[in-house]
Each structure stands twice: as structure tokens, then as C-alpha cells.
């Protein structure tokens, strides 16, 4: 976690994943107040589980529910250990924490962050252990309360000694004070784990009662809208006067933006529009590092620069094209991307002299607490952070910018403030997924072995941007995720990253480094298969030794009828990824629209994500990731002209519609391995699978994303 000390906006996610430190200690840090057995109030047992008088079991989770179903997945682990009925199970977000001793920090990297598809990886064993401990405490509590022995777990939230049966609620208060039990034995039954349990959050999400950040209502709150400098990096030259409009309460200078506060959101939005164009900004004097055309030219020159300037992420042998029988030398391009969470950035804050209470849709509690504390001159323990449901996160809501703005507004106004960005502000002030220009050189020998690979990714470095300014070669392993350590049998390889200098604010996007490297790798693998004149699926499988990798390719071969001729007018393309602790192979079946553009008819996926907690939710993430990855591949790019972001709303950043969604078929490959991630796995393979199918169909190789840049929605 060394990055935590240096990076104001947090460690790079991939680095966090690497820093699995001390063994996990069951966190029973939260104080337990002993209650009398008669008390009707809910009883908290340890940090995670609360039992109320109706015998409902409520799980508090540190991970953020942003659509991926983690609340339900973790609740399934708990229900399994407690053998309760699913109707007794509830889940909610725990209060946010930061720093040492936070029981809700992901045990994988000891920080309360939801990202990198790590929640189930991190919590699978600790959460089961915590629940089994509570189970044993309830059993011991029954024995102590009745002064009898022979107690064991019953059904439907009970404990029994054969003659007497008590509910969890009956014994919870006594159980909460039990200490000194031996390490619990984990139940390995599969009443809940591996089952298609219904999501706990769905009823509230279909009746409108689910509370997202935007929906928070606090007594006495006022409403803020913000205007950032249209040029990235600009600051407010002078605080503007309060717009002369009824209901406007004030303006707040937020350095890079101005907030207008009003007694309702609509008035705040209109007042913000009044201000637009009237604020004097100090714009950056040099915007060349925030201009798409200039950046593209710089990237091109860095593609062939001396290797001494590059970070060599992986070097095996001495790759050379000199002795190769056939060679590939191609360049792949990927744009900057926006996150476009369905729920724009927003936050509600209530700051008083000695307390800062926050309600936020956040994936980055670890970062928010110190940032908010610093913004109001308080210590971390004075910040109370409530995590709401997130209307999408995708990596954007790990940032603290929008939260700090709300905190500063509330501090200045002295009342609770709900701050909401407009969609235009949201698109223009994103932390953008880095662009990438990737050159792949590869050589085949006479037997079509890939003997040499030289891979260079020229891409803005998130780590460089967030690290200390003295560091010029950031060794950004995140930038080569999806290229480094590939499971393919390349005899010699060199994987390089050259940081493209830019001042465009960068951030993590769903499937991080893999979101760009996998397009280059899996496109290049197809091009190599063509050079070798070998079926691209077989070509991959024969160059993989890992049986799990081979198995997903074989599974998708069967699922997609790969060996059979596709329907007339269609061709199939394949892509593979080992990433996020999982293995995935995807086949896209692609034809042409009447306009001659790409029509994606069907997607087939085989995934091995280790032990499956909820097959239905793995499938949901596959479906969602495909829709996400396909929209990005077809249309998405964030461009910049002299520091001004050009994407303004969904009108020039389109998504699929119900009718343009391809049919998706999914095969979950059974596995006993530890759970891997599923939230990001399917996103990176969509673009190469489609490009590979299109190349087969039309003999035209698409090496640049998106396939249809601009605002015209070509294809599908």
C-alpha cells in the first residue's frame, strides 16, 4: 500500500491487488454493548451481522453495491453458514471507514474500496468465517442462557438442543458477549452458495424505494449545481456574484468550479446556466497535452522511440524478428473513454463545527474519509460516511472530487447540501480511461510457434499522473495489465509501456488495463493465426498450457458451434482473456446491416470464474459487460480540443437500445478454484471478438476503436 501515502486520489488498483499483506484477522473491532436478554432492540454480533426481534438477519457490507450484486453474493455466504431462510436475510452498506482497524476494508488489500472485481475474491473466506463465528456464538449463547449443553444449529434461524428450540433473536444478546471460541468449522453445504438466489436489492429497485445518492433527503438541505472551467485544469479567477434569481442562496468558489446553491435543484441548475460564460477563469497556458490531435502525434513518435525511455514490464529471452519465417507488425489504437455512470456524480453533506456527515454513492470510502476530513479541518473520526446505492460506478466513483465539493459547500453555507452535477458537467469532468497506441511485433517459426513478441503500449499513465512529480518512469503495471504475463507460449517476449504525457485527468474504467491491451493482444493473435493459416480458436488453444484456459476455449467452441459453418452472411470471431482471477472465451457472430456496417447478431461466452456463488449474477455480469463493451467498441471516444472535452451528453455518446442487443449465450465452466472476478471479465474481449469476426467476413481488419467514431450510430 505504499501508494496510499503518495497518491492523493489513491493507489492504482492493480498495485493494490498485489499488496496482499498480513494475514487476515477476523475483524471484531466494533464494540459490542451487552444487552439484556429481554431487549427488543436489534443486536449487533461482531461487525457484520445484526439480528432483530423478528429474527431477521442483516448483513453490513463494506463493498459498494453498484449493480454487480455483491450485497446478495455476500449474503449467500452468510446464509449458508447460518442455514436460515432466504426471506430472513437482509443486507445493507456498512458505515464507511478508512485506515487501520476498519473491519469493512477488503481483506485482499486492507482498504475499503470496491474495484478490480475483487469483492468476492477478498471476502469469500473471511465472510464465511465471520458468519460461522456468529453461528458458534449463537450456539454458545443458547447454552449459557439456558445453562444447558448439547446445543447445535437448527433450521430457519434457530438453535436447538433436541428438546428446546430457540430463535437467533432469543439468544442474540447473550451470544454477542461470547468470546474465546475456537476457530469455526466452515459449512460446505450448497443450499445458498452456487444457487440462483434472488437479489436482495431488486424489490426496492423495481418499486422506486431504493435510495441512490441523488435520492438522499436530509432535513433542511439545500441544493447545489456546479460549473467547472470548460478547459480542463482551469481555475476560478474571481468568485462570481450570486446570480440574481429567486431562490438562489449563494455561490461557492471550489477552485476548479463554482457551485450555485439554491432552495431546489431546478433553480440551482438554472442559476448555474446563468453563470456559465460569465465566470472569469484562469485557463492553463499550454493545452497541447490535452488536445487529441497533438496527443495522437506525440504517441506516434513515442511508438518508435528508444527502448531506454520505456518501462519494460516483462522481458523473457531476446525477442527478435530476424530469424522468423513469418512476421506481424501492426498498430492498434484505442481512444480515451468516459464512464457515463447512469447516476451522475452527486453527494449530500452536512458539516458542522465538529462533525462531517456524508451520504454518497461511492466505491472509495477509504479515500473519501481523509479527503473530507481535510476539507473541513477535522480528524478522520469526525467524518460519518453513509454509502448509498450507486447508479453505476465503473471506477468513476472511486474518486473524491464530487464528495469534497459537497463538503465544502455545506461547510461554507452551514446547512446540509445536496450537490448534483449536470450530465454535461459529468461527461466533461470525468477521469478518463487512458487512450492507447499499441504496436505488436511477432514472429512465427516454420512450425508456427510464436517465437518472439515485442509489445509496446504508448498510453497515458494513471500512476504517473497521481504519483510524486519527481517520478518520471512510473513502472505502471496497470498500463500493461492484459499484456504482461500472457499465458500464451511465446518463446521470447518484451512488454513495454511508454507513458504518453498528458494533463487530461485519468481514471480507472471497467476492466482497467485489459480494456485496451486485450484488444491489441487478441486482434494480433487472430492476425498471427491467419499468417499461420490455422483456425484462430485452435491456434490459441494450442499455445496455452493452462487447462482452465484451454477448457473455456473448448467450451465456447461447442457453445457457438464453431466447427459448423455459420449462417449465410455471418462469420465468427473469437477472443480469450485470463484476467481478474478468471478465464473467459468469447465468440461473436457478425454479419452486415443493410447499410453495410457491423451487425452483431450473437455472442457466446464461456467463463471459468472459480467457485460460482450465484450463477444468475455471473450471467448478469456477462450480459452487462457485453453491452458495455459493445457500445464502447462501436461508438465511444472522448476527444479533446485544446483542453476542452467534446463529449457533452448521451447524444454524442450513444448506448445500445433494447432491440440492438445481440443474443447472448453463456456457459459457466465448473471449477473448484477460488472465486475470481466477474464484473469486468467480459468487457475487454468484446471488441476483439467482433473485429476478428469482421475480418473473417470482409477481409478488412479493424485496428482502431471505436469502429464508428463520431455521432452517427453506425452498425448493429
Amino acid at each position: 500500500m505504499d501508494d496510499l501515502a503518495t497518491a492523493p486520489q489513491g493507489p492504482t488498483r492493480r498495485d493494490v491487488l498485489k499488496s496482499v499483506g498480513a494475514a487476515f484477522v477476523l475483524p471484531f473491532a466494533i464494540s459490542i454493548s451487552p444487552r439484556s436478554a429481554e431487549a427488543a432492540a436489534p443486536v449487533q454480533i461482531g461487525a457484520f451481522i445484526r439480528i432483530d426481534e423478528t429474527n431477521t438477519v442483516t448483513l453490513s457490507i463494506g463493498s459498494s453495491e453498484m449493480g454487480q450484486g455483491i450485497m446478495t453474493g455476500l449474503a449467500q455466504l452468510v446464509a449458508e453458514q447460518l442455514q436460515i431462510n432466504w426471506s430472513q436475510m437482509r443486507a445493507e452498506h456498512a458505515v464507511g471507514g478508512a485506515g487501520a482497524g476498519n473491519p469493512y476494508a477488503n481483506p485482499l488489500f486492507h482498504a475499503q474500496i470496491t474495484g478490480g472485481s475483487t469483492s468476492m475474491m477478498g471476502w469469500y473466506t473471511p465472510m464465511r468465517t465471520a458468519a460461522a463465528t456468529v453461528r458458534d456464538m449463537l450456539i454458545a449463547g443458547a447454552a449459557r442462557q439456558t445453562n444447558t449443553t448439547g446445543w447445535r444449529l437448527g433450521t430457519a434461524g434457530t438453535v436447538t438442543n433436541g428438546t428446546l428450540t430457540l430463535t437467533f433473536a432469543d439468544v442474540a444478546a447473550t451470544a454477542a458477549s461470547i468470546t474465546g471460541l475456537p476457530a469455526p468449522v466452515l459449512a460446505t453445504t450448497t443450499k445458498f452458495v452456487g444457487q440462483r438466489m434472488q437479489r436482495l436489492d431488486i424489490p426496492a429497485k423495481v418499486n422506486g424505494s431504493a435510495i441512490y445518492g441523488m435520492d438522499v433527503q436530509v432535513p433542511g438541505m439545500v441544493f447545489a449545481s456546479v460549473v467547472h472551467c470548460p478547459t480542463l485544469g482551469g481555475t476560478v479567477a474571481a468568485t462570481p456574484a450570486k446570480p440574481n434569481r429567486a431562490g438562489v442562496l449563494g455561490v461557492v468558489n471550489l477552485d476548479t468550479a463554482v457551485a450555485v446553491i439554491a432552495n431546489n435543484t431546478w433553480t440551482a441548475i438554472k442559476a448555474a446556466r446563468d453563470l456559465e460564460g460569465t465566470i472569469t477563469w484562469l485557463r492553463p497556458s499550454d493545452t497541447t497535452r490535452m488536445d487529441s490531435a497533438t496527443l495522437a502525434a506525440t504517441a506516434q513518435s513515442l511508438l518508435t522511440s528508444d527502448s531506454a525511455t520505456a518501462f519494460v514490464a516483462e522481458a523473457v529471452g531476446t525477442p527478435t524478428m530476424a530469424g522468423a519465417v513469418k512476421t506481424l507488425d501492426q498498430t492498434y489504437r484505442l481512444p480515451f473513454l468516459a464512464h457515463a455512470c447512469m447516476e451522475v456524480m452527486n453527494c449530500t453533506a452536512s458539516v458542522t463545527a465538529d462533525r462531517c456527515e456524508i451520504w454518497a454513492p461511492t466505491q472509495g470510502q477509504e479515500f473519501i474519509i481523509p479527503a473530507a476530513a481535510a476539507a473541513c479541518g477535522l480528524t478522520n473520526d469526525k467524518v460519518i460516511l453513509h454509502t448509498t446505492y450507486l447508479g453505476g460506478g465503473f471506477g468513476r466513483k472511486i474518486e473524491v472530487d464530487y464528495v469534497v465539493q459537497a463538503v465544502r459547500c455545506s461547510r461554507q453555507l452551514g446547512v446540509p447540501v445536496k450537490l448534483i452535477w449536470s450530465r454535461e458537467q459529468d461527461f466533461q469532468n470525468d477521469k478518463f480511461r487512458p487512450s492507447a497506441l499499441i504496436r505488436v511485433q511477432a514472429g512465427l517459426d516454420a512450425s508456427n510457434n510464436v517465437t518472439s513478441v515485442i509489445y509496446r503500449n504508448v498510453s497515458p499513465s494513471i500512476k504517473l499522473q497521481r504519483g510524486p512529480s519527481s517520478v518520471t518512469n512510473p513502472e505502471d503495471t496497470g498500463a500493461v495489465a492484459g499484456a504482461k504475463g500472457l499465458p500464451y507460449s511465446f518463446t521470447a517476449r518484451r512488454i513495454e509501456h511508454v507513458a504518453l504525457p498528458t494533463d487530461i485527468p485519468l481514471g480507472y474504467w471497467r476492466s482497467v488495463g485489459e480494456s485496451y491491451n486485450t484488444f491489441a493482444v487478441e486482434s494480433a493473435m487472430d492476425e498471427l493465426a491467419k499468417l499461420a493459416n490455422i483456425n484462430p480458436l485452435t491456434f490459441r488453444r494450442d499455445r496455452l498450457a493452462d487447462p482452465r484456459a484451454k477448457a473455456v476455449l473448448t467450451a465456447v467452441e461447442t457453445l457457438s458451434s464453431w466447427k459448423n459453418t455459420p449462417p449465410t452472411g455471418y462469420q465468427r470471431g473469437v477472443a480469450f482473456l485470463k484476467g481478474f482471477g478468471s478465464y473467459i472465451a468469447m465468440v461473436a457472430e457478425v454479419g452486415k446491416t443493410t447499410a453495410g456496417t457491423i451487425k452483431v447478431a450473437k455472442i457466446y461466452v464461456a467463463v471459468d470464474c472459480g467457485v460460482v456463488i450465484n450463477p444468475d449474477q455471473v450471467e448478469a455480469q456477462m450480459q452487462g459487460g457485453i453491452a458495455h463493451g459493445l457500445a464502447a467498441a462501436m461508438w465511444h471516444q472522448a476527444t479533446f480540443v485544446a483542453g476542452v472535452p467534446q463529449v457533452r451528453n448521451f447524444s454524442n455518446y450513444p448506448y445500445l437500445k433494447l432491440q440492438s442487443m445481440p443474443t447472448v449465450s453463456i456457459k459457466l465452466v465448473a471449477s473448484a478454484a477460488a472465486p475470481g472476478g466477474v464484473g469486468e471479465t467480459s468487457v475487454p474481449v468484446v471488441a476483439p471478438a467482433v473485429a476478428n469476426a469482421w475480418a473473417k467476413l470482409t477481409n478488412t481488419r479493424l485496428r482502431s476503436l471505436p469502429f464508428y467514431p463520431g455521432t452517427t450510430m453506425g452498425g448493429l
Binding site: V206, Y389, G391, Q623, H628, K657
Partner: protein, 147 residues
């Protein structure tokens, strides 16, 4: 400050608003406490703000509050009291549709309005051109087939 009486989910509510052109979305959310309708784009592209007004779907981000006086407004919070709305909600649960869920109030209200306009099964999808960034499209399509 104009005063209007609005019928939302079958109940009349009187509200003072800053101006007659205030979009229904913000009246519902800030003044009446119906936060089910969401702000997503403000320009009638995403559909997250959709509500039903006299059986028709409307983008509440662009409907002036003054234009819906005397009409029956139904938000996602009121769908359970409507035969078609309740069916749509049940189909959404049976098919485990929502992920983040933020787009779903709009999807559900638009689906209900399409049913009221006589569309059923596969005819509904072309009527609902909303955005779901999470990509729940396959499940929505499936849920609609039974409606």
C-alpha cells in the same frame, strides 16, 4: 410563486413552485419526495426520468409542471397500484432484471405505458428506447415477452 395541485399516484398534492416552466421531474423529486424518477440526461435521450401522464409516457425532465395539472401522474412508486404496472414489476423480479437499477424506474414506467397503448410481448421493446449503461437489455427483452 405559482401554486399547483398535482395528482400523483392517485393522491392530490398542492405545491408552490418557482416558475410554471419548472420540469415535473424536479417537482416530484425536490418538492413532493417522489425520488423514483431519475435525472439522467435532461435532454430526453436516456429515459431515466420517465413517468406516466394520463396513460402516456412522458420525459419528466422536459414536461413543464403547469402542463400536467388535472392529469393523472404515475411514477414508479405508484406502479404497484396499476394492473399493468404490477405485471411489469413482477416480470422484472421474475427475470431478475436490475443491476444498479438506476434506469429501471424509467424502463418500468415506459413499459407500463406501452402496455396501456395496446403493445404486448415483443412489440414493447421498440417503444422503449432508453439507455441502460449496466446492460440489462437481455433481461428486459425477456421480461417483456410475457407482458
Amino acid at each position: 410563486m405559482p401554486t399547483y395541485t398535482l395528482n400523483v399516484n392517485g393522491v392530490n398534492r398542492t405545491v408552490d413552485v418557482p416558475d410554471a416552466g419548472m420540469p415535473l421531474l424536479w417537482v416530484l423529486r425536490d418538492f413532493l419526495g417522489f425520488t423514483g424518477a431519475k435525472y439522467g440526461c435532461g435532454i430526453e435521450v436516456c429515459g431515466a426520468c420517465t413517468v406516466i401522464v394520463d396513460n402516456q409516457r412522458e420525459h419528466s425532465c422536459k414536461v413543464d409542471v403547469s402542463s400536467v395539472v388535472g392529469k393523472k401522474i404515475v411514477t414508479v412508486e405508484g406502479l404497484s397500484g396499476d394492473v399493468d404496472g404490477a405485471k411489469a414489476q413482477a416480470a422484472w423480479i421474475a427475470n431478475q432484471v436490475p443491476q444498479c437499477g438506476f434506469c429501471q424506474p424509467g424502463m418500468l414506467t415506459a413499459t407500463t405505458a406501452a402496455m396501456k397503448a395496446g403493445h404486448h410481448g415483443k412489440e414493447i421493446a421498440p417503444e422503449v428506447k432508453h439507455i441502460c449503461v449496466c446492460g440489462t437489455y437481455p433481461r428486459i427483452n425477456k421480461a417483456m415477452t410475457g407482458l
